[in-house]
Amino acid sequence: MAEEPAVKAAEEIASQLGEDRVLLEDLDRSAYSYDASGIHAIPSAVVRPSDVEDVSFIVEAANRYGVPVIPRGSGTSLVAGPLPIEGGIVVDMQMMNGILDRDDYSGLIRVEAGVKVLELNKVFPDRFMPINPDGAGFSTIGGLIAEDAASPLSAKYGTMKDLVIGVEVVLPSGEVVLVEQPGPPSKWNALGLMLGSEGTLGIFTSAYLRLPLKPESRRAFMIEFSDVSDSITVQNTIEKEGMGVTGFEVYHNYREVVEGGGTEAIAYLELAGKEECVDLWSSRLSGVLDSMEIQHEEADLEDASDIWIKRKGIYEIARSRESAIKVVSMRVHPHLVRDAVQEIDRTGSRMKLPVVTVFDPPLGWVMAIFLYDPINEKEVERTEKAAQNVISRTVSLGGSVGFGTGVGVNRITSDMDEGFVNIFSKVKEALDPNWIMNPGKLIER
């Protein structure tokens, strides 16, 4: 049964936006109760704005009734970002999907928040969106900015915040603010405060991005590591010699889990840049790998793209055993990657769950992927325990949770990062004194 204030707020919103834009039926509300996190939370209502004025009206009304508002893009979050875990009204941003402005020469593009990666990638044939976490391109730009999403190509192009020049945001009061600089960011600005705030400070309604150019030349390698520490040595060499690496991702336990046995880890590494440079770096990289007696071969560029863009490696893990998967995303200092991998392995053994660890040495990005049987209740329970265990072990190693996916319901506590929680809580109180914006995410009240 929907909460009374939420229903009243929804009715007021319906009178402004139109009844077809407010969903109150059980079937519709249930359809907005999930994302890719495996968590369920049913909203009291779902509202579907078509422009910034609609969003402003929705937020202002919800604030007046003290009802939480939860922005939602395509619902591809791994951390329950768009789920109303404390109840409230879900704001479905998908109808705001217009390309507002574009400049073919500079790659600058202004889009509404509900535009999807696959739509954006159709705009400039020579440029591309290097961040595509769901593989299919279904995620919205607003969601990716809110969670500061990453991809294996973040090694070169940065995370989502590095592609954003400006955002239009509706604050919890309903006020619309343009957080944007006329030129490239050159001084302290407010963008850093908003990007990656996971919908807890406001709702992004449009964004101004610069899409990078596709590189002139690319060459990819498939590497077999018998010891994951070697991948860190390779990364150190890459850094010392200034090689242009676009992506470097290692799959620990992949052969064991997917193929039933084999090398400890496989990896894809891509070099990109001017052709002469790529030739030089390739030959140098091969030399380094040969000297370390690490087996490697040149990989098909399509295969490499499938890994970076379509996230084929991760999906292959779930496909191989016809299992469900639970992904926990973290970041550690690169020299601690091996320790993180060991912690994840230990957790998998203790909880009797197959686990593949995917990590990106240039970023120190580590993703534990646990496989479980969705109809085995005990196994589902053990998977949740495994996820929580991995998070606490990573924090004790000095790592952080939520890199690339957002923190969401895992929440950062004072034990993890006292300074952040202190400052962010004060900012939150100032902008959202009623805590209506996506409560229960990122930090605790």
């Binding site: 969903l23 039926e25 059980d26 079937l27 519709d28 249930s30 359809a31 907005y32 109760s33 999930y34 994302d35 890719a36 996190s37 495996g38 369920h40 579907r48 395509s74 619902g75 591809t76 479905d92 998908q94 109808m95 999907n97 509900g114 696959l118 769901d134 593989g135 299919a136 391109g137 279904f138 379509k310 996230r311 084929k312 999906y315 779930a318 496909r319 016809e322 299992s323 469900a324 998967i325 049987d373 969705p374 109809i375």
Partner: protein
Amino acid sequence: MVEFPEQLVKELGRCIGCGACNIPCPMFHVEDLRETEGARARIKLLSMLSYGKIELTEEFLSYTFTCMNCGLCSNFCPVGIDVFRAIVGSRSALIDMGYVPLVTVGMRDVRRKTGSPIGDRITKGVWLPPDFQPEKGADLLFFAGCWVHTVPEVALAANKLLQKISERVVPAGTNEPCCGGLVYVIGEKDSSEESRDELRRFLADLSPQRVVSGCSLCANMFTDLGMKDLASTIEEVLEEGKIRTKSLKGKKNKVFLVPSCRSNGASERILRSIKNANVLEIPEWVCCDCGATLIYQAEPEKFDRWLGNLLDIASNMDADYVIIEEVACYSMIYEALEGRNKVRGMKIISLPSFLLDHIS
């Protein structure tokens, strides 16, 4: 509580919720990207139903049974769930448990009485001589498919087209059984098997060299029947060089193809081989075949929105022709447009009729 078979519960539970299956989902796009209408919601809500997290209501039952039945969702799942098969399997399981929505009861009854789930709206073989009986051992048997009987001109065009590739084309005639494809997608597996058995016996009795199906749902969903869809057949003969395409004359050359949902791409390749034809790029979710019948009959306003959306896209692309591969789809659109074959300056035409003029 609804108890689905264990394997089905597991398959539904494997969904990682990425939403990739919504990308080609026609209902999701036509209903303004509303999550409820997409393939992901169907899988997720069925999974929630199997865990008792939501109740089975009349509304939910009807929802489970009505989509375009295109099956494109299965091609997009990154973790290998056959999304469409899981939806169809859930429908079957619900029917087995006695939860049957009225619309499927209607189709089942009509099939029992007439041999076809749409038997109440067709007169088979009106395009054939009154005393027509198919001869046995034909070189090419033309299995028209149920819907084609509502548009005799398309049946005739397809028959003539096939005569260009074989001297002995024999239509299956008025006793042509339904292949069971439509009742299969609505979860009536027993009824579907009965139909297929009947069709097998029918084909065995006529023992043709080969069978070409006007209904691509039948040919491509039940490959064991040994039928080939019309476009694949034409493409094969084009490749052999026995026939060739003719150039599309005039400046009006922009072609918007509505392929069969089970197309292997043959229809598009044929059109691209026609000189001067400018075949437009279509969105991932544009396709249609006999599987759309349920929504056409149960929720005609949704079908109309789908059609309106399709025509908007074609019109915005300045299409001169909207070519519909599937005869069932063409029949439904023909009826929905009340027999008009020209809309907003675009000619609405079936693939067999178009090819008849552009193949020699």
